[in-house]
């Protein structure tokens, strides 16, 4: 097949910015068939494709793209599913520009092939058209417990149930999905898509027990010694919110991004009072940070009715960690970007409500350990943003509950569970871990990659353990 030289990615049709700020509906509509085929034809079908290495789970990217070009969408979806059980999710939220698309050969001279958009297209096509029956495998294998139902936990569960293990996922919240449900907003990742994947796992025979906090309701040790689970996978994520540790941070109206997004997404505060969880949005909102979480919080605040939303970030545009697409979407929607600006104090009124965020201007100095130029304050540049809500989105750490309640489980000095990257093995035999709780806040696909690796290792461990026993 001859690739046409089309220098740019086919644009993604999307809800107009002035409309979408008034609703929580998904922003990009997705490619239609013609556009998907045209985009698929931009792929050079390289003999030594570099994109596959750019994908943390090694999807055979040229192969699925070729199937789209050939209009064989079911095969395209099958190729994706071979390596990635959540293609509809990853096609939407992967930071493609720093993974598969970063190394795409077409991208050297022109824009890379829109791999993520094509992935979304194939996955959505399958969801809409496929009537493939789920064929559950007979579950006769050993019992495996999975802690947490984020992408890492869902992946482990999916891989193991297909091999006949009896898998139970324990989830603290009343709804499974992890960050996909409580963190990433509906307008970026419709919850129905995540639910579909969860329902699929249930059909395969995965049991999900909600409202169980491992470490409190039941410990890992009890799961293994009393409940008969022969292996445990810990995928409890990075749920510990970091704060700025500046004066005024406990004033009314200061939220962690986790709280702001959980109230909105999981508890649907955007439908208050029909849904009963309230959220205080205010008129002028400052969001501190510039990662995906910050963009999500800022765009959420706008949709909840804030008149003015400011991103406040201490480094420059170049260092902003969010996906490019999200930054662009935020800009289109009218979010203000205040770069090289660092908050130093939250100011409040006499009743204890936020009424300002005091900041200082920064300039970039020498590179620090991360290789990024260190921001340093400019003396005398303090000024105040008049805001009534501040959302702190400067990162999350690993959830400490499980390390705290599991003796013998080794952690790093930052509290991450130490696990072998090749197998997910921890310091306790039979206990595996992966995803954000091991790496710190990372990406969906990396958490899934870790889940995959751990599932293989668990399978191997249990097979040899039970052979020895026989």
């Amino acid at each position: 097949m001859m690739a046409k030289i089309v220098p740019k990615k086919h644009p993604m049709p999307a809800q107009p910015a002035e409309e979408r700020v008034k609703n929580f509906d998904e922003v990009p509509y997705g490619y239609d068939e013609d556009t998907a085929i045209a985009e698929a034809l931009r792929c050079l079908q390289c003999k030594n494709p570099r994109c596959i290495e750019g994908c943390p789970v090694g999807i055979n990217i040229p192969a699925f793209i070729l199937k789209i070009a050939e209009k064989d969408y079911q095969s395209a979806a099958d190729i994706l599913k071979d390596k990635n059980s959540l293609p509809a999710v990853c096609g939407r939220v992967c930071p493609q520009e720093e993974q598969c698309e970063q190394v795409c050969i077409v991208g050297i001279k022109n824009e890379p092939v829109a791999i993520g958009r094509l992935e979304r297209f194939a996955a959505d096509w399958e969801a809409a058209n496929s009537n493939k029956e789920v064929e559950p495998v007979p579950l006769t294998g050993p019992k495996v417990a999975v802690v947490g139902s984020g992408p890492a936990g869902l992946t482990v569960a999916g891989e193991l149930v297909r091999k006949g293990y009896r898998v139970t996922i324990f989830e603290a919240f009343h709804q499974p999905g992890g960050v996909l449900m409580y963190g990433i907003p509906e307008f970026r990742l419709p919850k129905a898509i995540v639910q579909r994947e969860i329902d699929y796992l249930k059909k395969l025979g995965v049991e999900i027990q909600l409202n169980v906090v491992v470490g409190r309701t039941v410990t890992i040790e009890e799961l293994m010694t009393e409940e008969g689970y022969e292996a445990v996978f810990v995928g409890s994520g990075a749920g510990l919110p970091y704060f700025l540790n500046i004066p005024g941070e406990n004033l009314n109206g200061v939220y962690s991004a986790n709280e702001f997004l959980t109230r909105t997404n999981l508890m649907r505060a955007y439908m208050f009072p029909k849904w009963e969880t309230p959220i205080h949005v205010g008129k002028r909102v400052a969001v501190v940070g510039a990662g995906n979480v910050a963009m999500d919080a800022a765009r959420t605040a706008l949709r909840l009715g804030a008149e003015e939303v400011h991103i406040v970030y201490r480094r420059s545009e170049k260092e902003m960690p969010a996906r490019i697409e999200e930054i662009e979407h935020a800009r289109e929607e009218g979010i203000n970007f205040n770069l090289l600006t660092n908050p130093i104090e939250v100011l409040g009124d006499e009743k204890g409500w936020v009424n300002g965020l005091k900041c200082v201007k920064m300039e970039l100095g020498e590179p620090d350990q991360s290789g990024r130029r260190r921001p340093v304050p400019i003396a005398g540049s303090e000024f105040v943003f008049p805001v009534d809500v501040v959302v702190v989105a400067i990162g999350q750490g690993p959830n400490p509950l499980i390390p705290r309640t599991t003796s013998g489980l080794e952690t790093s000095k930052w509290g991450n569970i130490i696990a072998d990257p090749e197998t997910g093995r921890t310091s306790i035999p039979g206990v595996y871990a992966g995803g954000d709780v091991v790496t710190g806040a990372a990406t969906v696909i990396k958490a899934m990659g870790a889940g995959k690796v751990a599932a293989q290792a668990i399978d191997k461990y249990l097979t040899s353990k039970n052979e020895e026993a026989n």
């Binding site: 603290a172 919240f173 009343h174 909600l210 409202n211 169980v212 906090v213 409190r216 309701t217 039941v218 749920g239 510990l240 919110p241 704060f243 540790n245 941070e249 406990n250 009314n252 109206g253 939220y255 962690s256 986790n258 709280e259 959980t262 109230r263 508890m267 649907r268 439908m271 208050f272 009072p273 029909k274 849904w275 009963e276 969880t277 309230p278 205080h280 009743k351 204890g352 959830n399 400490p400 509950l401």
Partner: protein, 271 residues
């Protein structure tokens, strides 16, 4: 699903439920709490585990109907189920040195202080209890408290039962009589806990209070339940809910509990 197997009306807006929750009952410790949702669109509401029975696999909840969610909960009957119930959450209460303890419960705070008194009594502590309410009608667990106390006192603001006045009056009297306790556990409305803390501070009596901060997850994930204790920020749900009363920033707590007052009025209304 968690089935309600017993319901009692302790006072007009005060209900007691015994709920089937074997996993929670098995691990529950005094001082811990649960988070529940009454229905699909409901809030997550925290309630103290007022009692537990490991053998029967049940926990007891006592709650005051203050707003929409607790009213919905109160409308459930025996045989109904609570769809979501998560726990036991929080750290079990740690006790200071000494064997002489005064346990004080004000209003619905009697519910969380009861399991503390019970456990301490079982461990051989010399337990004095003081329970207080606005009026006799709102008193509950009198017999239960008396059963786990070496000495039990009741106060009402209006004098309709027991001592007329506040729980702190009784505590002051005990101290004046030379029965200064080694430590005090007080649970109730913030003004009450604060008054107790001010009194015991004068006499350098270690005092533990339990907070009902605003919560979402209850697992240390949202940071919404932050409190300042001894100048340090803590999360009520994972570091508490019990804290040293003399180190606590009460003003901040009062303020943070006001946060959704206006908005809550809209729930369950016409809209």
């Amino acid at each position: 699903m968690f089935k309600i197997i017993e319901k009692q009306e302790l006072a007009p807006t005060l209900k007691l439920f015994r709920v089937e929750a074997p996993m929670i009952a098995r691990r529950a410790q005094p001082g811990q709490f649960v988070i529940l949702r009454v229905h699909e669109q409901g809030e997550r509401i925290p309630l103290t585990i007022a009692d537990f029975d490991r053998e029967q696999g049940t926990i007891t909840l006592v709650f005051q109907e203050v707003g929409h969610s607790t009213q919905l909960l109160g409308a459930l009957a025996v045989g109904d189920s609570i769809p979501d119930l998560l726990g036991p959450l929080g750290e079990p209460t740690e006790h200071p040195e000494g064997k002489n303890v005064v346990c004080i419960g004000g209003g619905v705070g009697v519910a969380p202080v009861y399991p503390e008194a019970k456990a301490l009594h079982e461990q051989g502590y010399n337990v004095t209890t003081i329970i207080g309410a606005r009026t006799a009608e709102l008193l509950f667990f009198e017999a239960e408290m008396a059963a786990v106390s070496n000495q039990a006192f009741v106060t009402t603001d209006d004098g309709s039962k027991g001592h007329k006045g506040f729980v702190t009056d009784v505590l002051q009297k005990l101290i004046d009589e030379g029965k200064k306790p080694d430590f005090v556990i007080a649970v109730g409305p913030i003004p009450m806990m604060r008054a107790v803390a001010e009194l015991t501070r004068k006499y350098e009596i270690k005092t533990i209070v339990s907070l009902n901060s605003m919560m979402v997850d209850g697992t240390g994930m949202c940071g919404g339940c932050r409190v300042t204790v001894g100048g340090e920020v803590k999360f009520t749900c994972v570091d508490g809910p019990a804290f040293d009363a003399h180190e606590l920033d009460f003003d901040e707590q009062v303020r943070r509990l006001e946060m959704y007052k206006e908005m809550e009025k809209k729930v369950g209304g016409e809209c």
